[in-house]
């Protein structure tokens, strides 16, 4: 087991693409770290640099406190699940799993026990005698995962290891990986596009964009307090609603967030934090799950008048897509109970939980800091 430290790591590919741009990240010993970000943001590149497959253009990479910039991948004792699996095409599944162990002179009996255990865990026992070309995409992915798991290395690097599995298998594999991390306690860096994986599996999430780290934090922390509009709009589906607004003073230190025809009173606890922005435009962030049908305590919720555009009945819940009653601004998504129904064009009033409001600076897109809870 080992910690992994990235200190101002930069990767410039030979074609002058800067894939990773001075990234610093501390992955603690035994931590389950998620790398989350849109396609092309540098997740795989970061992972490949940790593995030693990609030369580091500048910065320092430390594994277990040792600088490994110039250490061969073979000597890093880490296992990686490649985004494209990279199985050995001429070897059977069993040989694919055994290869790394044989190279490390693990005794044959031990190899067999480990292969059987991992194959059972991943449900690939019937495939052990097959070649990779005789497997489906999802089966190959599980073999790739198995090849990493049998190794019992210092750290696992997983590049979208569940992306090709069906929904059921994916959710059971998610659980297996969490359990495995719990029992082994090995450091895991897990790259994903998947919101659910990011929220449920990781102890911390590292959100990347265009080769930069935007925010690192525990899942709920990142969800509750996104660092900027990118994180706010990237995490969770549907993501946070972002609407143009303005902070206005209504005397005696009281503030409201004014949008088209709507005035949301700022909770007393946030007033000091937002006072300096009084009179300035802001981006108002409202989570879809903080809209309620019933009004709460007058100090805690504020009514917002909406006009229904459409509803998406998902089963467990209904997503209401609406505009402000004034008809202006972007669409608003609100998460409603499963028996909620509304006709197209129907006006209605929802009540927003003011304690959950987030405001962002329209120029920098950064969040305006405020106390975590009122």
């Amino acid at each position: 087991m080992a910690s992994i430290t990235l200190d101002k790591i930069t990767k410039v590919y030979p074609n002058d693409v800067t894939a990773v741009n001075g990234v610093s990240l501390d992955i603690r010993d035994g931590e389950f770290m998620i790398l989350l970000g849109p396609s092309g943001c540098g997740k795989s590149t970061t992972l490949r640099m940790i593995a030693g497959l990609e030369a580091i253009s500048s910065g320092d990479m430390l594994i277990g406190g040792r600088r490994v910039n110039d250490v061969d991948p073979a000597d890093r004792d880490i296992a990686i699940v490649f985004q494209n699996y990279a199985l050995y095409p001429h070897m059977t599944v069993a040989k694919n799993l055994a290869f790394g162990l044989k190279l490390r002179h693990v005794p044959a009996s031990e190899i067999e026990t480990r292969i059987n255990r991992v194959a059972a865990l991943l449900g690939i026992e019937p495939l052990l005698g097959r070649k990779p070309s005789q497997l489906s995409g999802g089966q190959r992915q599980r073999v790739a995962l198995g090849r990493a798991l049998v190794r019992e290395p210092q750290a696992f690097l997983l590049d979208e290891p569940l992306s090709n599995l069906d929904a059921t298998l994916r959710s059971s594999m998610r659980t297996e990986l969490i359990k495995l991390h719990h029992t082994l306690g090995t450091t895991i860096v897990h790259v994903t596009h998947d919101q659910v994986e990011a929220m449920t599996m990781g102890e911390r999430i590292c959100i990347m964009k265009d080769g930069d780290i935007v925010q690192v934090g525990e899942p709920m922390e990142v969800y509750r307090n996104p660092a900027n509009t990118f994180v706010a709009s990237f995490l969770a589906t549907p993501p946070m609603n972002l609407l143009p607004g303005r902070i206005e003073s209504v005397g005696a230190g009281a503030l409201v967030v004014a949008m088209d025809g709507v005035a949301l009173p700022v909770p007393t606890a946030f007033q000091a934090a937002y006072a300096s922005h009084s009179g300035k435009p802001v981006i108002v962030g409202l989570r879809p799950e903080d809209f309620h049908l019933a009004a709460g305590d007058a100090a805690r919720t504020a009514p917002i008048d909406l006009v229904t555009i459409t509803t998406e009945v998902l089963g467990p819940e209904v997503i209401l897509v609406a505009n402000l009653a004034s008809g202006a601004g972007p669409e608003i998504h609100a998460r409603m109970p499963r028996d909620f129904r509304a006709k197209i064009g129907q006006p209605l009033t929802l009540h927003f939980d003011l304690a959950e409001i987030q405001l962002f600076d329209p120029e920098t897109t950064r969040v305006l800091p405020r106390p975590a809870h009122p």
Partner: protein, 294 residues
């Protein structure tokens, strides 16, 4: 469904129609001589009495096989083929591996390597005969300059076959390099990365990944080279005429001598048929192997 069948038939007819001229030509220049030779091989046909009057059955074959000179040629050819194919393969694979990791000036290296391959064997033979001339050749001159004894490259019964082998390697090694390099550059990159992370050193990657994945290319290359090497004729004709004595009397040249020096076309035809048998065997094996790959 009927329509698709008639269309298929029409397609096939058109195919035959289009290939008829070249098929006819092939028939005339290949199949006819082959059958003529087979026909000759069972007759007593000499250039002194060029007729098919006496049918002799297997007699030509028996006397060919019993002829110690022909047996010597067969053995020598086997040795020659084994030597050139082995050395060309080893040398070719090493150079291909090196070229595969080269980033810059690749086209220049390719160009240089292809030069010998583009040369006619007769030219190659002439060039090397001059280079290797015992007293006037540049090779011996250079050897004496650095203090070695001059070597009797083509005149010594010990040396001559090795000289032919070396010249053949010079001429044909590029063929191996080009084919093996094509195989190497078509190799997937990912398994190597996986192997590095799995703990493989460079030599382990070579033995556990490169070699097994390259096996089809290697086998096909070796077989093709063997088929060509068995037929080696021009180099011998130009450089040694099978000599000194019978030291370089490869089977193709030996057949030529039987037919046009001893004038015994019947027996030469039988020898050709035996050689054809060997080559067919290799070809069938090659064909089977390539079929089994897909």
């Amino acid at each position: 469904m009927n329509q698709s069948k008639t269309m298929e038939a029409a397609d096939r007819r058109f195919g035959w129609f289009m290939s008829a001229p070249s098929l006819a030509l092939l028939l005339a220049v290949i199949l006819f001589p082959v059958f003529w030779a087979l026909f000759t091989s069972v007759h007593d046909y000499t250039l002194i009495a060029p007729n098919f009057d006496t049918f002799t059955g297997a007699e030509n074959y028996i006397s060919a096989i019993q002829d110690p000179a022909f047996r010597h040629s067969l053995g020598l050819t086997a040795f020659f083929v084994a030597a050139v194919v082995l050395f060309e393969f080893l040398l070719g694979f090493i150079v291909a591996l090196m070229l595969n990791s080269v980033e810059r000036f690749k086209p220049i290296y390719y160009g240089i390597l292809l030069c010998p391959l583009l040369m006619n064997p007769v030219i190659v033979g002439l060039i090397w005969r001059m280079f290797l001339h015992p007293s006037l050749g540049i090779v011996n001159y250079l050897l004496t300059v650095v203090g070695f004894e001059p070597v009797n490259w083509l005149g010594s019964t010990q040396m001559a076959i090795w000289t032919i082998i070396m010249v053949d390697i010079w001429h044909q090694v590029s063929f191996m390099i080009v084919l093996l390099l094509a195989g190497l550059s078509a190799m997937p990159k990912e398994p190597y990365e996986a192997a590095r992370v799995d703990g493989a050193r460079v030599y382990q990657s070579f033995f556990y990944i490169t070699l097994p994945l390259m096996m089809p290319v290697i086998i096909v290359t070796l077989l093709i080279r063997m088929i060509f090497a068995v037929k080696t004729y021009d180099l011998i004709y130009i450089m040694t005429r099978g000599g000194p004595g019978v030291a370089t009397d490869l089977v193709s040249y030996s057949i030529y001598r039987t037919a046009f020096v001893s004038l015994n076309v019947g027996e030469a035809s039988a020898m050709s048929a035996i050689l054809l048998g060997f080559i067919l065997l290799l070809t069938v094996y090659l064909y089977r192997y390539m079929r089994s790959l897909t």
